[in-house]
């Protein structure tokens, strides 16, 4: 038997869990100061997640999916791409969206059950959160094709969970991107759980990155709790795509430190001890340790950051809570560019019989 093809999957990490550089850092990370924006973004996201959960618990928000422990993925991705690139997020990507310019109020409106949250400012071309698992991967390939067709130096970047890699959409889209050499980057947030399903019941593949091999494209693994590594690997993939060298799949290994969503209770299906161990790997302390040792960060800055971030978040929460609910007719708006005459009567009926709109708790 002759060997007709061989493949390998590589793994990238710069900061080990203790926050020591395990190898020389990439250009952008040489100056610790340059890493502060990434650190601040991760901290702000974590504070936001905590706040959002409180809002849900107190009946002021709908089901919410926290990114606890996976902040480095969203921040690494968003910091590596350009304003004109297009992000196709799933429902756990507000860390990336915030850096892209989506406001906290918009994010809260969305999870509060108000479509206006997806009419976000900042990245007007970015896609809204994709809730049906995997669909966004197909959309990303179409977005990338449009860029390629128009000779625009733009890249589509989509994010999907480890569970999402079991979905046909993921494979069909990667395969299509390979054929089209489309300027797209597929990022897997491998937080090792899909609600109650551990990574092991999703696939017998030893890595998720190797799924790229099926599409004939490059697949890489990165420490998803090392924001430097994530940003670096994404940056390489994005520039590769931008210069016409095709798609890349990146598996970012992290861990879901929280429940799947506020509707979930992870203690039903996983061992709290394992979660406790995973806390030793989380991205924020890791980068903080590095910055502190590099004398780029200290208690004073930390306190100020926490204070300022909390204020920003609280102001946004007030604005969110003060936002009047959408009007009944909103459900007929934007269904079509123009509402068909055939539907005017339905709209009138809706207005006539609409119950008074519920408070935030619905």
């Amino acid at each position: 038997m002759d060997v007709v093809a061989t493949f390998r999957v590589e793994y990238t990490q710069f900061l080990n869990p203790q926050g020591d550089a395990s190898k020389s850092l990439p250009e952008f990370a040489r100056d610790p100061e340059a890493l502060l924006p990434l650190y601040r973004a991760m901290v702000r996201t974590r504070l936001f997640d905590a706040k959002a959960i409180t809002l849900q618990r107190t009946g002021n928000l709908g089901t919410f999916a926290s990114s606890l422990g996976q902040e480095a993925i969203g921040v690494g991705v968003a910091s590596a791409i350009r304003e004109e690139d297009v992000l196709l997020p799933y429902y756990r990507d507000h860390a990336a969206q915030f850096l892209r310019g989506v406001t906290i109020v918009e994010c809260l409106l969305y999870w509060g059950g108000d479509e206006r949250g997806s009419d976000f400012s900042g990245p007007r071309r970015d896609f809204p959160n994709c809730v049906p698992i995997g669909n966004q991967v197909c959309h990303a390939v179409g977005v990338a094709y449009a860029f390629k067709l128009r000779r625009e130096a733009r890249v589509a970047v989509c994010i999907i969970g480890d569970g999402g890699t079991s979905k046909g959409d993921f494979y069909e889209a990667m395969n299509l991107a390979g054929v089209w050499r489309a300027p797209v980057v597929f990022v897997i947030n491998n937080n090792q759980w899909a609600i109650s399903a551990p990574r092991t019941i999703q696939t017998a593949a030893q890595t998720l990155a190797q799924k790229a091999i099926a599409a004939g494209i490059e697949g890489r693994q990165v420490d998803g709790n090392d924001v430097i590594a994530v940003r670096h690997v994404i940056q390489e993939a994005v520039e590769k795509a931008r210069t016409g060298d095709g798609p890349t799949l990146i598996e970012a290994i992290s861990y879901r430190l929280g429940d799947h969503t506020t509707a979930d209770d992870a203690t039903r299906y996983r061992d709290p001890d394992v979660v406790r161990q995973q806390w030793a790997l989380e991205p924020i302390a890791r980068l903080r340790n590095y910055l502190v040792r590099a004398n780029a960060w200290g208690k004073e800055q930390e306190d100020r950051l926490l204070l300022e971030s909390s204020e920003t978040i609280n102001q946004a929460v007030d604005a969110y809570l003060a936002t009047p609910a959408p009007v009944t007719e909103a459900m007929f708006d934007h269904l079509y560019a123009q509402l068909p005459d055939a539907m005017r009567e339905q709209r009138a009926t809706a207005l006539r019989f609409a119950p008074t709109i519920g408070e935030r708790d619905g």
Binding site: D114, S166, I201, D264, P326
Partner: protein
């Protein structure tokens, strides 16, 4: 005899049949250790093992397809689709294979499977979690389509669905999962799959509905009763095949019919019932049929979902219209 809610009734029916029929297997996302996101399968994996209660990867297409392969080999797979908004990747296998395996092999192979899925709005769920797709399946030849509206009917109809030798789509209204309890005897007795249930009799108007909307429909009937208007309330329960006779007999008596469903109006299943009235019940009708349905819009997010769903006022007003007519 215990009082249980609808999701508990589903759980009991599944447990009963798994205990009595070794060929029954469950597959779906988070149905094992976690007992399903609505807990419909709670305790079943512990009791029947992970070979018969299978936590699957997120792959609705392959889940439906694999179930067909299992069914063709003599198992009775029961698939849980986590929410009806995620049922669409399974449609290809349902319509192109499950519904026609018996037909295209002239009975050589068959497909005794049940596809369960929560459906409907009203629990402030996120996007895509509030769909009512029953009409799509009702249009597909070779299927049976069931939407229960109470714990006891959920129990009896689900048992019947599992025992049916052909594929059955079983849609469970999430809003009813915990809305109310009922005494349900866990005696393994199935309900018939080819009849509508008349929930209360009346001579003034016929109210036809199914699933969660029966709750509003019955509330409307109560309100009308106070005003001396006696409505006959029919729970369609099994949408396909449809027991039109029960509905026609009722309309022959009342002369008036209001059909209530949560799904979008256009080409919703209410149209099929109204069409049958226009064909077979025309001479009984003394007033135009009324459909009180969800609007032809995307089901809005939580803030407006109750503005979308038919409510008691709309139903009562539709009834009044039919009474004023003629």
């Amino acid at each position: 005899m215990a009082e249980i809610n609808l999701v508990e009734a589903v759980n009991r029916a599944l447990a009963y049949e798994m205990a009595h029929d070794q060929s029954v297997v469950l597959l779906g996302e988070d149905i094992g250790v976690n007992g399903g996101v609505f807990r419909a399968t709670i305790g079943l994996q512990q009791r029947f093992g992970s070979e018969r209660v299978i936590d699957t990867p997120i792959a609705e297409t392959a889940i439906a397809g694999a179930a067909i392969g299992m069914a063709a080999m003599g198992l009775k797979p029961i698939v849980e689709i986590q929410f009806s908004g995620f049922i669409y990747p399974a449609i290809d296998h349902i319509i192109n294979h499950a519904s026609r395996l018996r037909h295209r092999t002239r009975g050589r192979l068959s497909c005794p499977m049940v596809l369960r899925s929560p459906c409907g709005a009203g629990i402030h769920a996120p996007e895509h979690h509030s769909e009512s797709p029953e009409a799509l399946f009702a249009h597909m030849p070779g299927l049976r389509v069931i939407v229960p509206s109470s714990p006891s009917r959920a129990y009896g109809l689900l048992l019947a669905a599992i025992r049916d030798p052909d594929p059955v789509i079983f849609l469970e209204p999430t809003r009813l999962y915990r809305l109310f309890k009922q005494e349900v005897m866990d005696n393994g007795e199935a309900l018939p799959l080819d009849v509508c249930f008349t929930l209360c009799e009346g001579n003034d108007v016929t109210l036809v509905s199914w699933g969660a909307m029966l709750h509003e429909t019955q509330a409307a009937a109560h309100g009308l009763a106070q005003q001396g208007i006696l409505a006959e309330v029919i729970d369609v329960a099994t949408l396909k095949p449809l027991d039109m006779k029960t509905i026609l007999d009722s309309v022959a008596k009342t002369g008036r019919c209001v059909i209530v469903h949560e799904a979008a109006r256009t080409a919703g299943y209410g149209a099929e019932i109204a069409a049958n009235l226009a064909e077979q019940g025309l001479y009984s009708l003394v007033a135009p049929v009324q459909r009180v349905t969800g609007y032809d819009v995307v089901v809005p997010l939580a803030k407006l979902e109750y503005q979308y769903m038919p409510n008691v006022d709309r139903i009562v007003s539709a009834v009044k219209t039919t009474l004023e007519a003629a």
